[in-house]
Amino acid sequence: MKINSPLEAYKYLPQTNCGECGEPTCMAFASKLIDRSGKTTDCPPLVKEKKFAKKLAELDKLLAPEIREVAIGVGDRVAKIGGDDVLYRHKLTFFNKTKMFFDVTDTMEEAALVERVKKITDYKKFYVGRNLLLDGVAIRAASNDPAKFAAAVKKVIENTELPVILCSFNPAVLKAGLEVAKDKNPLLYAANKDNWKEVGELALEYKVPVVVSAFNDLDTLKSLAKTFAEAGIKDIVLDPGTYPSGKGLKDTFTNFLKIRRAGIMGDTEIAYPIMAMPLTAWMSGISDPVSASYWETVLSSVFTIRYGDIMLLHSMEPYATMPEVHLAETIYTDPRSPVAVDSKMYKVGTPDENSPVLFTTNFALTYYTVESDLASNGINCWLLAVNTDGIGVEASVAGGQLTADKVKEAFEKSGFDLKKDVTHNTVITPGLAARLQGDIEDKLGAKVLVGPMDSGRLPGFMEKNWPPK
């Protein structure tokens, strides 16, 4: 982004305070543009009225992120990468979580290929009310045979909606893959100093994003990117090479830092998303597969944090994928606000007037942990999410966001009446909020049971303590 104050963005807005964007004033809307929570297209007059066309174009240019955003694939599962404006997440937030593509080769048996593609597509790990997923399939032309490659690409796209990467340094092979996948906006991997002419032409002809690759050679990498940009290719991804170990790995780390720093500081010729290849861990001579998988996860972690926007991975072991998707989520959550759920009364299962009533906080991690512990154990109940400004139980008790008054307020706002809606007039508190027991009893005029410290123990607790005597 070339500007950093709302005042500068304001200059380009209609300045009528019409309110159509949902903000009371153009100035308020300008702040949203600067913190990237709003887009220019949210201001109807700016988009619709001809007289603002020039301002809109200028403003869009000023607001464009430093690192180019590139889209791979089509439809719901399109993978957007890049689009960042800062080097440290607390300065704003990082946009477009690192995308994880898993490899298949065109020499695999068909059944194995299909099975692996399905496994990649179906992977999910529940986390705070959503599923963490894998992002795509990288098809490697191990055969170097155009026909074989085309057949494999066809099989893959028949079996998944996920975006694909076509991997070969042979332009004829890439072209064969493109013919099959041309409607899928695949990413081409890759153009290097030997084949860049032909691969560049393919990218232009089929209008697809393309990786430029130069192993540990930033000068060549930059000049390839520059040549492509001048030829009219906009969607470029950089591959500076990923060495799996030793000094080479240190160099790779340094390259990632240098590229991203230069891009954020305004060197537009290299301001593109970066590709990391943790799967090179499998070529580093580690013989035992668990250790190789661990090392791949280590490389993936390093480059999730330091500026890898897309990566090629191999191990599908759960102990590899689970930390990988969690770390991407960790680094890319918005540090400006805790993730919270609406503060209200939720039904878990099909509760009735004899079902227990529990409360927790509206911190998403807390709420969904408790909710899933209850639901997956078949406990029908009422679960109230108290508004603690999105803070978990222990920290909100310590910080004063979870008090008896807050609990009372939450019951009142939810319209749930402990005396009428249930027969037992009883509430169960989190074990970590035990010290509020007396206060809550006074404020609600209800019986209060102190639950276990960890909601995972609620099933055992219920067996012993419910219904209350």
Binding site: Y88, K258, D267, V298, S301, V302, Y319, M322, P323
Partner: protein, 321 residues
């Protein structure tokens, strides 16, 4: 041509802090560990990183509940802190040992401070690496326990863990100074509290700069690592840019990773999840990724438990070093 410039605004180096006294320094440790001294973010090309990351492996003064994958490695030494410490050094390549005096907690065994101090002596005799000494976390009892431990470890330059705002930090600081030790300044995920405590240790308790290490709190992957990571990165950046209340090396209780369900539960509590796979492989990598993330954020010293986690964390941080 690609060009790259170093960051000019990183002008203030992090304080270098030694842990452990050798005979040359008046102690009995076989070696001394140095942490801190950085002039840039970890592994960045802007400046050479003077000291590598160090790992200290936990020892407890009583048998405690541990995740199965961790316990397997320690079961036969858990009744003897000395043997446990030895195993950590000889077999698992620990740079340091942390002895946690958890049995002193009034709600656990209420072991008297005097008794607990003997365990510290036992560990000091069993191994010759530098040691960290931790209390039970009980704010009423810890100052007394740690002061006593500091006394029996006089001259060894141990790391006393921890001074915090919710206990008598002055008593801990005083004992550390009197008996020649370092102080771990522990706050909970809040940069301003960290500044406040460091300031109090320096101004009010006269702890010299080369005796302070910070623990800004570690939350596990999936359970607040987003806060812990950014808290450390912000602290380190502020320090490099001249905030003298934050220019100290950092330490992480990386073992918190074992609190995450993903590292110890047999399988997912949710049937919709893809298979979680064998937990004996999930736990160590959870500890590795938690620690590694913080290494990149600026953390220097790691308090860890699983031998595989220790080995892999050392390998990657020394590769990037």
């Amino acid at each position: 041509k690609f060009s790259f410039e170093n960051f000019a605004e990183w002008a203030t180096p992090i304080q270098e802090v030694p842990i452990g006294n050798t005979s040359a320094d008046g102690g009995s440790r076989g070696k001394r560990v140095l942490v801190g001294g950085e002039k840039a973010l970890p592994f960045f090309p802007d400046a050479v990183m003077p000291n590598r990351n160090q790992v200290t492996i936990d020892v407890f003064d009583m048998r405690i509940g541990l995740a199965k994958a961790v316990k397997e490695n320690y079961d036969e030494v858990m009744d003897s802190p000395g043997e446990w410490a030895k195993k950590n050094v000889e077999k698992f390549n620990a740079d340091m040992i942390t002895i946690h005096l958890i049995s002193t907690d009034p709600l656990v065994k209420d072991t008297p401070a005097k008794e607990a101090a003997k365990t510290v002596e036992e560990v000091l005799q069993a191994v010759d690496v530098p040691i960290a000494i931790g209390g039970s976390g009980n704010p009423q009892k810890d100052p007394e326990v740690l002061a006593r431990a500091a006394e029996v470890a006089e001259g060894e330059r141990c790391l006393i863990a921890s001074a915090s705002l919710n206990l008598d930090y002055a008593k801990i600081a005083e004992a550390a100074l009197k008996y020649d030790h370092d102080v771990l300044s522990w706050t909970q995920l809040d940069m301003n509290s960290q500044k406040e405590l460091n300031r109090k240790l320096m101004k009010q308790c006269n702890v010299p700069r080369d005796r302070i290490i910070m623990d800004p709190t570690t939350a596990a992957l999936g359970y607040g690592l987003d806060y812990a990571y950014t808290n450390m990165e912000r602290i380190r950046l502020a320090a490099l840019m001249g905030d003298e209340e934050l220019t100290f090396p950092m330490s992480s209780g990386t073992t918190n990773a074992w609190g995450a369900r993903e590292s110890w539960m047999v399988s997912s509590p949710l049937k919709e999840d893809s298979d979680w796979g064998p937990r004996e492989y999930r736990g160590p990598i959870w500890e590795i990724v938690t620690g590694l993330s913080l290494a990149i954020a600026g953390n220097d010293l790691f308090m860890m438990m699983h031998p595989t986690s220790v080995a892999v964390l050392k390998h990657i941080t020394q590769t990037l070093f």
